[in-house]
């Protein structure tokens, strides 16, 4: 009894933190979502998602998040694999180099992309210098996706790298010993055994990409309205907290849904290919 009391006592600060910073705000959001201006009960804030504008934003968000996740996976897996296979003693340092950008201010990094991608920016200067036509990708879906890939890539690399590090070298050697060439070993052994890392990476990229609004604000310039932007505007410009909360709840449901789908994949796919 004493032990139990002591451990729960030690957890108290955390419990208070969760209560004040997570649970309470959630109830407030739910409260706003289910009421109208006058304070009366309504479901209209939740059903507002069926508005054509909101549906379009939600669909656009899902599309951008999906494409971002796929591109991150395609880039991150080879990078993680190369990092893992590096035959140097200071592997930790190289991994650190990949995480380093995460320590820089998020806004600063995105602003840098704004300058690179602008019509008279670095990218177009380089393109015209080598005689290629310039491109206008700032304030398009492409720019937003590019910014998200850049931002979220480390969150895909790290879990995959960790998963690869946990694979016993002898298991890979055993596959070669039994006649498997590099590709067969990769498909039948390495990928299935790093599945947990792939799933973590997908969740860690897809979820923030789905709800992000800063990247689309800066690189989308108000022309690319993700559901995150719509919610932000409801809170800041329109001052309609009820509608913003309602849409937030819907977005949250989508996030939980996508996570549970990924967990289902994790359980059911025993050794099969992912994605």
């Amino acid at each position: 009894m004493i032990n139990r009391f002591r451990t729960s006592f030690l957890a108290a600060p955390y419990a208070v933190w969760v209560l004040i910073c997570t649970i309470l705000p959630l109830f407030y959001i739910l409260g706003y979502a289910l009421t109208n201006d006058a304070g009366g009960f309504t479901l209209s804030n939740l059903f507002a998602i069926t508005d054509a504008v909101h549906l379009k934003s939600l669909w656009l968000s899902i599309e951008v998040a999906f494409v971002t996740t796929i591109i991150c996976l395609i880039i991150a897996y080879p990078v993680a694999l190369i990092l893992h296979n590096l035959k140097i003693s200071n592997k930790g340092f190289v991994v650190f180099l990949f995480i380093l950008p995460m320590w820089m201010n998020f806004m600063l990094r995105i602003l840098a992309w704004q300058i690179i991608l602008s019509n008279n920016g670095i990218l177009n200067s380089i393109l015209s210098a080598i005689g290629l036509p310039t491109v206008h990708i700032l304030y398009t879906k492409t720019a937003v996706t590019l910014g998200m890939v850049y931002d979220f890539l480390p969150y895909m690399i790290l879990p995959i790298y960790n998963a690869l590090s946990k694979i016993n070298d002898q298991v890979v050697e055993a596959a070669a010993d039994l006649g498997a060439n590099w590709w067969t070993t990769f498909i039948k052994i390495t990928v299935p055994l790093s599945k947990d890392g792939i799933i973590s990476g997908i969740i860690m990229v897809f979820v923030p990409a789905l709800s992000s609004f800063v990247v689309s604000n800066l690189l989308g310039g108000g022309k690319v309205l993700l559901i995150g932007n719509v919610i932000e505007q409801e809170f800041t410009l329109a001052r309609n907290w009820n509608l913003g909360s309602g849409l937030s709840i819907i977005l949250m449901i989508f996030v939980l849904l996508s996570m549970s789908i990924m967990n289902k994949v994790d359980e059911s796919e025993n050794g099969g290919m992912l994605v």
């Binding site: 002898q170 298991v171 050697e173 055993a174 070669a176 010993d177 006649g179 052994i189």
Partner: protein, 355 residues
Amino acid sequence: MEFIQFDHVSKSYDKQLVLDELDLYIKENTFVTLLGPSGCGKTTTLRLLGGFEKPDSGRIYLNGNDITALPANLRPINTVFQKYALFPHMTIEENIAFGLNIQKKSKEYINDKIKYALKLVNLDGFEKRSIDSLSGGQQQRIAIARAIVNEPKVLLLDEPLGALDLKLRQNMQYELMKIKQELGITFLYVTHDQEEALTMSDTIVVMNQGYIQQIGSPEDIYNEPENAFVADFIGESNIIEGIMIKDELVSFLGVQVPCVDKGFGTMKPVDVVIRPEDVELGYPGKGFMDGVITDCLFKGVHYELDVQCGEYEWLVHTTKYFEVGQKVSLNVIPFNIQIMNKPESEDEEVMKEDD
């Protein structure tokens, strides 16, 4: 040319020489054990044959073909790894079928092979089980089954019993010998456990610091160690510096004792090796020297005694109990005194450093 041949094979890691100009010949259908302390190069030798490492210099031949540059997946050789290295995301059946699927064998052939292999390792009916549900000993049996279904010409075993407890290890030793007989292929076994090596092998290759110390049958290695390292590594020994006075007479610890060795010359410094079970204890004055029992430990089959004779403390195994402090005489029949040359070259010197 022999079945397996290492021809002047050298290998180093980070400038540390692990194998130096190794020459090794292995006959077909023998059970050969590479035996030595950690860092002696035995595992590297195995990995070179398996194709997991490339030699810095030298060639490796299998059945007359140069396989030095052949990658592991193209060698007709399979390996049983130390930590089993089973595929954790596959069932037992899928693990065993892995190599056969790559060879694109028919479904019936694969199923027959799985049945046969599981029977051979005494795990019939385990097809659908997962790897996690198996004990260490069972996992090692599956690893053996997974390797042998491919009908390799050589089976490499890298300390496969190291992680098992004593009783299980002994059972597995007999099973491995049985499997070897049934398959009729060459086994190359790596271990640091001398008992394992003596029990199972047709030929033992004793290695130390990248050099082969002695190659021979278990009986040869145990009874006629060629140098002090082998004598010390295989079983326990009394190794005493002595002088070969003339043929069949050696002097050590201040006494002259008859032996059966010849051809060392006269007044030549040698190492004298006497196994603890070959020392006979008697009443004081009845042997070639007297001593006092300083320690007596019960070891099950025998007592392990320390007998102090002047400066030297003998290790003696007897089946009789002796009191600590008791005065005894020591005697050894000439046949059980093993005389060895002292190391002369640098290569040989290595053999003693590792003690």
